[in-house]
């Protein structure tokens, strides 16, 4: 009986928090489309998410591309399939690793910072202060972040794709001694619009997940510094899991036909 009770209350709690999150998301999306719009906040978020995440995302991408080339060489060398390496690098980066790794890195960098900032504003009553100044915190704090996440993640992923493929090229040409022209030719032959586009759509969804979780956890945080800390951790964990989960769902939608 006790076990059943535990399972029951766990399931109820899970449904309740999912419901809250969905209601929050619905209201947040509504505020993205209804004026007033706070352009300055949006601009600041665009720069913060897009520009300041470039180093992290670029470094992740270049090493990923390099290691992909190296790994697939040790794997494929036996079959003397040189062209396979360029294909492996380009396909895995554009379809999977670009969006997923960029998403995870940005979740750690941006999602956590959003939860901490909004959470601190909640516990120090700055969110209430916004309301007293006739400013809806959902519009001023949440909407610009969601919009910026959805717009900037694809751009970051374009950069990640290019740098990742370049990383593979570096290893293939300078370490494995491939002919640069042939490698580039193979790369362009393997590059498919639908792979890139599917990766960018994923990136947009991940951008939404990251900013939504950051804002939601911050917005609903309670109980001082400890509550803000918990909101930050929850954001990284839940955003990362949701990214991987939606990565599967989207891949299924795009390619499993």
């Amino acid at each position: 009986m006790r076990v059943l009770q535990l399972i029951g209350s766990f399931v109820l709690g899970f449904l309740e928090s999912t419901g809250r999150l969905v209601i929050f998301a619905g209201s947040a999306i509504g505020h993205c489309f209804r004026p007033p719009f706070y352009w300055r906040s949006l601009g600041r978020q665009l720069i913060d998410i897009g520009y300041y995440s470039l180093p992290v995302v670029g470094l992740t991408a270049i090493f990923t591309g390099m290691v992909l080339a190296l790994q697939s060489y040790t794997g494929f060398a036996r079959f003397s399939a040189e062209s396979a390496i360029a294909t492996v690098v380009v396909v895995s980066i554009t379809r999977e690793l670009g969006p997923v790794l960029a998403g995870l890195m940005v979740a750690g960098r941006i999602g956590a910072a959003m939860a901490a900032e909004i959470g601190t504003m909640r516990v120090t009553e700055q969110l209430d202060a916004l309301t007293t100044l006739s400013t809806n915190p959902m519009k001023y704090m949440v909407a610009p972040r969601l919009i910026a996440g959805v717009l900037m993640l694809p751009l970051l992923v374009v950069v990640a794709d290019i740098i990742g493929v370049f990383g593979g090229y570096l290893v293939a040409v300078y370490k494995l001694g491939f002919n640069p022209a042939t490698y580039l030719q193979n790369t362009f032959d393997a590059l498919k619009t639908e792979d890139v586009v599917s990766g960018l759509v994923k990136a947009s969804v991940f951008g939404f997940i990251i900013t939504l979780m950051g804002c939601y956890n911050g917005y609903t945080s309670r109980g001082g510094a400890q509550g803000v800390g918990a909101a930050t951790t929850n954001t990284i964990v839940s955003a990362s899991i949701l990214i991987l989960c939606f990565d599967y769902i989207l891949t299924e939608l795009f390619f499993a036909r």
Binding site: Y38, E117, E125, Q126, D128, T132, T135
Partner: protein
């Protein structure tokens, strides 16, 4: 203040509980147009909750709140926002935006409401800062660089920047030394009288209450147990009021030592 004019704010039968804990229990209160009403009450008696219910920061469970005769409880968000434009509020912890410099804090309502461009908003902010005794050199500082008393002043300047009809003060003098507290009291009197605003303040600082109030109301166990002009507070005939204004531990009000 006339007794015949309809009240600026009328609160009737207000009820608010957190879980099983009743914080406001059938509370009635009127604030007249242009009057300065101070609500006194112990810590944790629900004073902040009362102000938050008036602005809709917390949703009351039942009752009625009218502002200029318009019901705000259960009104749609757009109407609520329009009514809230009549209000300015100084929150208990000042709650300045630490990501913005002082002048943008003060001008926030003007900028967010797109009432004016940044340049003129900045000029207004500097003149409001001067009104609370802060020089233009403070304008570019970050709120975290200010002392508690200065933060209160900036919070006050922010509350009055859009020339509200009603100003709410949540414990404006708590945590300040007696001299700074008196400076803030004077500023409250000046800033509200100057624009003819209605003021609703809450405090447990009796010196401050006596100084800024036309009328005092005491909140106890979720109800207003006494209300009347400042001059009559010593003759309230209510032991609980007497105990509070004299700050005695013994009496009908027993503090829960262990909550």
């Amino acid at each position: 203040m006339t007794d015949k004019a309809p009240p600026k704010i009328r609160i009737g039968g207000l009820y608010k509980a957190f879980g099983t804990k009743r914080v406001l229990d059938n509370l009635d209160l009127d604030v007249g147009d242009g009057e300065s009403l101070v609500v006194i009450g112990g810590s944790g008696s629900g004073k902040s909750v009362l102000l938050k219910c008036i602005l809709g920061l917390l949703r009351a469970d039942a009752g009625s709140i009218t502002v200029d005769g318009e019901e705000v409880m259960g009104s749609p968000p757009e109407k609520r926002e329009a009514i809230n434009r009549k209000f300015g509020m100084l929150l208990q912890g000042s709650a300045l935006f630490d990501s913005l410099p002082v002048w943008e804090n003060v001008a926030f309502g003007l900028l967010a409401g797109k009432l004016m461009d940044r340049k003129s908003a900045r000029e207004v902010a500097i003149s409001k800062l001067a009104q609370v005794g802060l020089g233009p050199d403070v304008a570019m500082l970050s709120p975290s660089e200010l002392s508690g008393g200065m933060q209160k002043r900036v919070g006050l300047a922010r509350a009055i920047a859009a020339d509200p009809e009603i100003i709410l003060f949540d414990e404006p003098t708590t945590g300040l030394d007696p001299i700074m507290a008196d400076v803030i009291n004077n500023l409250i009197i000046e800033t509200t009288r100057e624009v003819g605003a209605t003021a609703l303040s809450i405090t447990h600082d009796m010196a401050s209450a006596r100084k800024i109030a036309h009328r005092i109301a005491m909140l106890y166990q979720g109800k207003i147990i006494w209300a009347g002009p400042v001059s009559e507070i010593t003759r309230s005939g209510d032991e609980r009021v007497d105990q509070f204004i004299h700050g005695r531990a013994d009496g009908p009000i027993q503090m829960a030592v262990r909550a």
